[in-house]
Amino acid sequence: MNISKFLTLAAAGLIAGAAASDALAQTPKKGGTLTYTYQPEPTAISTLATTAVPVALISTKIYDGLLEYAGAAMEPKPGLAESWTVSPDNLSYTFKLRQGVKWHDGKSFTSADVKFSIEVLALNYHSRGKTYFGNVTAIETPDANTVIIKLKEAVPYFLKAFQPSETPMMPKHGFSEQEIAEKKVRQAKIMLEPIGTGPFKLKEWKKGSHIILERNADYWKPGQPYLDQLVLRILPDGAARAIAVEKGEVDLAPMTALPPAEIQRLGKLPNLVSSQAGSEGLGPIMWLEVNLRDKPLSDLAVRQAISMAIDRDKLVNVIWYGMGKSARGPIVSGNPNHFNKALPKYEYSPVKANKLLDDAGYKRGADGVRFKLTQNFLPYGEEWVRQAEYVKQELGKIGIQVEIESLDMGGWLKKVFTDWTYQLTSDFHHNYSDPTIGVQRAFISTNIQKGATFSNSMGYNNPKVDELLKKAATLPDGPDRKKIWDDVQKIMHDELPVIFLIEMGYTHIWNKRVKGLIVNGISMYSNWDSVWIE
């Protein structure tokens, strides 16, 4: 055998060996504890109490949704409901429930629980309950394993409603009649001592320190979950969280749980994985909200000038350490079904911005200032402050003098959504799995409502957009609906009801030994029943 043949054979052997060990490595292993960290600590364990991120992260491991979802496009697949049929007019959905599913307290899961979870709980207590189920006319339960939901009007995103964070299946027997009658659902004991059907059960909650979930041995998927325990460690300081991840004391920091600078640093370490995949179903997007009631912000030329004065790429790369990309409209480009690919990138050109303002008649004063604006920012951390400072600096270059005002969350919410006394502010929304849920709320004129959070605070009122949004809300997904959403995006791209800035990237950092985390477009709100540790 000559040397080159030997080398070839040896290389082939090595490759085959590596492939075999790779395949071996991909066989899920049972056992082990996954520790994750997120700040702040959850205030309850049910998204009925609040859908805040920390609550959704933990409650989705305990409470199942009726369905499961696959891929970035969130295709529904069987879960607690084994199968379903939809009537040709899309007005009646029949779900067949899996038999033999037990609640954590040993009682059987039945159609009565599904009806209760939708009719009594989601509809009345979940912040998006009315969006999903406002059209429901009746929920029938002909037997313990069948649920028929009837709708007044077709809802294109109806099957997306059954995610564990959106419509958690909760036991009817977990609430007393008095709690229901007196509307004390949020105060019920089950909010702190959950009983679900999910892969994990609550074992211990030491406030301020940690939460331990343990494996549900009676989980309906045989052999799953793979993990024995799931631990949430509460570490309020960002640097301390990063240290815990770096040291391997914590396996996972989901959804940008670490300060961006730390994410950039840790992402380069060989034992850690940094990824923005698995949040497509949330579609986080950030923009500069503008109060259109105020002159000169009501002037399109002014909004165009502001938009042109901001270098979105620089914002992403410098302030946000590369997490995200420049936005082109209200829908994130990662949305495979609804994003309008024809939208161009926004141009960065202070020269053109200056000219726009000159032409529109906003003359500079002796001090070089055309007019003054106040700017608020989301009180989520340092990056938001720096972004506000960057915007101030760039707008200064085109003669707009910006004064930054700092408020905490309570003050910010009141100023922006109740008082409408802001002029410019950063704001952050989720597209969710369907734009009618996540996008419509911020731009439809019926949502110009004082006190409605993350709604149309700008006072944006375009009858054409309203009409399109209403139409899109009833059509099934397909070319017709896509066309409508394309049109809406085009109008908003040009009309700038807000200054669209960045498609934010939720960055998850995990230890390489953790496998199977990214399963769909809401991976961190999935139940982690197939996550395992090497």
Binding site: T51, S127, Q187, S209, H210, D237, A240, A244, E249, L413
Partner: protein, 326 residues
């Protein structure tokens, strides 16, 4: 004399009640002045929420009533020692406070006791060697430590002892999920306590050292020390039996004030080390406008501050017989 002291005690105890109630009332209205309430926060956390939804939350929490009604309802409950329920956590406020209290007490007591003991010894040592290199060294070190932000010091200690040397845990109060009991549990807590207690104690040591030194030097200049020296007493005996007792008064005052702050915990140190104490609870409650929880913590801590002041007054009498309570 004894009767006079007792009368003083009773009178001071009676004074505590209106003081604490006034503080609660002030807190109640001051906290309401901040814009936004817990319903806003909750609705904000949930992403989009309609105005009706937010209003429904306000009704649930009783925040839709006129302010004066809310105030009287709160005060009425307070008089029966009912601190109410946390709006966000849906747990009785007293349960939340008692839950965090042990962690705070362990951390604060350890560091304050450590700091007072070390501070007194170092302060006396520096004062006795006034003007020497040892004195300068102690004073400069105290100044440096005092000027170092606690959170930075904490992070540096973590980097050194937890990451580089890998001999101490980086945070938390126990090894989570280990299920330790009894002595093993106590040891585990002590193990986790070392870094946060050291961080906090270092800051206080600096204060006590400087205070003790200054106080000792002042006492050294007094006539009775000259008399003691004339009597031929040793410098050690003068320092520890004669001067110290007199010089301790300001230290006791400061320790009393600090004991009052005990309940507040140390937000920074608790944050850096993930220590589940009251400090974080206060901070989160404030940001989330969880007023019942905040008022409850402020009520308990104001009661403790006022009581600590009383205790300090009583200790004064013990240390210095010339102080007579009337």
């Amino acid at each position: 004399m004894r009767q006079a002291s007792l009368l003083f005690l009773v009178r001071r105890l009676l004074q505590i009640v209106p003081v604490v109630l006034a503080i609660v009332a002030l807190n109640f209205f001051l906290l309401r002045m901040a814009p936004g309430d817990v319903a806003d926060i909750l609705a904000g956390q949930m992403g989009h929420a309609t105005a009706e939804f937010t209003q429904q939350l306000r009704q649930e929490f009783g925040l839709d009533r006129p302010l004066y009604q809310q105030f009287f309802i709160y005060m009425g409950k307070l008089l029966t020692f009912d601190l109410g329920v946390s709006h966000l956590q849906q747990t009785p406020v007293i349960v939340l406070i008692l839950d965090r209290l042990p962690a705070t007490l362990i951390l604060m007591l350890t560091s304050v006791v450590l700091a007072v003991a070390l501070g007194v010894v170092l302060g006396v040592a520096a004062a006795r060697r006034e003007g020497t290199i040892a004195d300068s060294l102690i004073s400069v070190l105290a100044l440096v430590v005092y000027a170092t932000p606690a959170f930075w010091l904490g992070l540096m200690l973590i980097v050194l002892f937890s990451i580089k040397l890998d001999i101490l845990p980086s945070g938390g109060m126990i090894q989570i999920g280990a299920g330790l009991k009894g002595a093993a549990y106590a040891l585990d807590v002590a193990w986790h306590l070392i870094l946060p207690a050291a961080t906090l104690a270092l800051f206080y040591v600096a204060i006590y050292t400087r205070l003790m030194r200054a106080s000792m030097l002042e006492v050294y200049g007094l006539d009775f020390i000259v008399t003691a020296r004339a009597k031929g007493l040793s410098e050690t005996a003068i320092a520890w039996t004669h001067a110290l007792r007199n010089a301790l008064l300001p230290v006791v005052t400061l320790a009393g004030v600090q004991f009052g702050h005990l309940l507040g915990g140390s937000i920074l140190v608790e944050t850096v080390f993930g220590w589940p104490g009251l400090g974080r609870l206060v901070f989160d409650a404030l940001l989330q406008r969880d007023l019942n929880l905040l008022l409850g913590i402020l009520f308990v801590s104001s009661a403790v501050v006022v009581s600590a002041n009383l205790v300090v007054d009583l200790i004064y009498g013990l240390l210095d017989p010339r102080i007579v309570h009337k």
